[in-house]
């Protein structure tokens, strides 16, 4: 196989998995509770630094990562109780308040000087392996595996478990769900907790590939927005397809045209989708349809 093609295939897949993992929490929260959590990027960055600090305290990486996921998940629930619940239902206020929290977290770390090369997380598995004649490190393959496992796991969770079904019911018809005993605030809080925990998972798996840079917080939010806009805001399948399209397109552009054009793909993809399918590739049509 042509080396460039092989590399495009392998790294395209890795890149798609990275995007998927980054966007998963944002998409899940929105799908289940309708809250667009603009603090997603802030929580992602916070998770990176939390794991780093826990390791400084002497915890082994896996324990630190697990604790981080739990802590940030709890923080997500708190975020709902303190910040979102008072303004629930006012879209403008929901967007603005979560956005403010996200920016505050990110800029707090910048102010505190978390900007040097010391801040990095270790890779879970070291070394690399040959795949289609391309050398890939295990960590990147791990990303693919985790992204896949999480996506399947979440699908199973929302379709087969009692809690998952309750959450989905909530997202589809709040009043009916209320009448069968599902409490809206409880469900939304859980969805925020889950989404935040997923942001933390993404952080502890993805950040070891490089250093923890402050701007990766904004980048994570940007990626989450790009993927969900591309795939369709309320569709899990759309999000997977959005990640694949973006991942392969960025990698292919980088490989064949030149690395600096990879960035153009994000913008191009968003502008194209906007122009031809504003509700996303698989988006449930959010146009003005009044249902029966």
């Amino acid at each position: 196989m042509d080396g460039l093609l092989a590399s495009t295939l392998v790294f395209g897949l890795v890149s798609a998995a990275t995007l998927l993992l980054t966007a998963l929490g944002f998409s899940l929260t929105f799908g289940l509770s309708g809250v667009a959590n603009f603090a997603h990027g802030g929580l992602y960055l916070l998770s990176g630094f939390t794991a780093w600090m826990l390791m400084k305290l002497g915890l082994p990486f896996l324990a630190a990562a697990a604790l981080t996921v739990a802590l940030v998940g709890a923080l997500g629930a708190l975020l709902y109780r303190v910040v979102i619940m008072p303004v629930r239902g006012i879209v403008l206020a929901e967007v603005i308040s979560t956005f403010a929290v996200g920016v505050a977290i990110i800029e707090f770390f910048r102010w505190k000087g978390f900007t040097t090369y010391d801040y990095a997380l270790p890779e879970l598995v070291e070394g690399s392996v040959e795949l289609l004649g391309v050398s890939v490190d295990w960590q990147r393959l791990l990303i693919v595996a985790i992204a896949l496992a999480l996506t399947l796991g979440l699908w199973a969770f929302t379709h087969w478990t009692k809690i998952g079904l309750a959450l989905r019911g909530m997202s589809q018809d709040e009043y009916t769900a209320l009448s069968v005993g599902i409490e809206s605030d409880w469900a939304a809080m859980l969805s925020l907790a889950l989404g935040s925990a997923l942001a933390a998972v993404a952080a502890v798996v993805l950040l070891p590939l490089g250093i923890i840079s402050i701007n990766s917080g904004y980048d994570a939010l940007l990626v989450a927005l790009a993927v969900t806009v591309l795939g369709g805001l309320e569709s899990t399948a759309g999000m997977i397809i959005g990640s694949l399209v973006l991942g392969f397109a960025v990698t292919a552009t980088g490989n064949y045209i030149g690395p600096r054009w990879g960035e153009v793909v994000y913008l191009g993809a968003i502008v194209l989708v906007l122009a031809f399918r504003p509700s996303g590739l698989l988006g449930a049509s959010k146009e003005l349809e009044e249902r029966v």
Partner: protein, 251 residues
């Protein structure tokens, strides 16, 4: 009465996913006719209205208005052609004063063309329209925020919004629901006047007794299909209609 129908729907079908909300429904309305659409909850009445007014695109089928194929015409253009509707869930422009709710449609192209000469001031025209639908004369209600109105008023405000467009075809989606008997009694003469003015009327209703005082023909839907059509007496005499719709009540 002219022979040319004002509204003709041909084989209208709408599928939401696998569910057929409306299945192969055809209708024909002559100018001045008043049609009632009845059927149990979820029988596709509102979807049918949405298909006729263009708020939902049909999966198949066509809509003709005044002889013109409007199937692909967007809803706001259909308003311009003379088709106006109310919504089942009457939601006003919450933040605006009540009379400004009526000024909004009065600034539309159609209203400016049709009523522009008649009234000098749009605010004044709006207040007149509100009185027509039964808002008390000289009360402070028209200057209140629309979000503060009680439900019965919202329904009438919705009607005023429709009438402000001076439509030839008036489509009312469950106007009576949530209204008190006295409120309905207050509205009936207005509906008579609309008919007398030569306008065509389509009403989706659950309140059959009141509906039959207004309409001269009825279409019955069930599971998205048209199962009966005729004068109110004809339709209500059919055993399958009684079974499907009124079974419990008749027993």
């Amino acid at each position: 009465m002219s022979a040319e129908p004002i509204l003709r729907a041909e084989g209208l079908t709408k599928a939401f996913g696998k569910m057929l909300a409306v299945c192969d429904v055809s209708l024909e309305l002559r100018p001045g006719q008043a049609l009632g659409i009845i059927g149990p909850n979820g029988s596709g009445k509102s979807t049918l209205i949405n298909l006729i007014t263009g708020f939902v695109r049909p999966t198949s089928g066509r809509v003709f208005f005044k002889g013109e194929d409007v199937t692909r015409v967007p809803p706001h253009r259909r308003v311009d052609l003379g088709m106006a509707r109310s919504f089942q869930m009457a939601r006003p422009f919450y933040g605006l004063p009540v009379f400004k709710n009526v000024v909004v449609p009065l600034t539309s192209r159609r209203a400016r063309r049709h009523l522009g000469q008649e009234f000098g001031d749009r605010d004044e025209a709006a207040v007149h329209l509100l009185e027509d639908v039964g808002f008390e004369r000289d009360s402070a209600i028209p200057t209140k925020r629309a979000g503060e109105l009680p439900h019965g008023y919202l329904k009438r405000l919705e009607l005023a919004r429709v009438l402000a467009l001076d439509p030839d075809l008036v489509i009312l989606d469950e106007l009576f629901s949530g209204m008190s008997m006295s409120e309905i009694a207050g509205i009936l003469p207005l509906l008579e006047r609309i008919k007398a003015a030569g306008k065509t009327l389509v009403m989706v209703e659950h309140r059959l007794r009141e509906l039959f005082r207004v309409v001269d023909s009825v279409v019955m839907l069930q599971f998205g299909e048209k199962i009966a059509e005729g004068t109110p007496e004809q339709v209500m005499a059919r055993p399958d209609v009684i079974e499907a719709y009124l079974g419990a009540e008749v027993k």
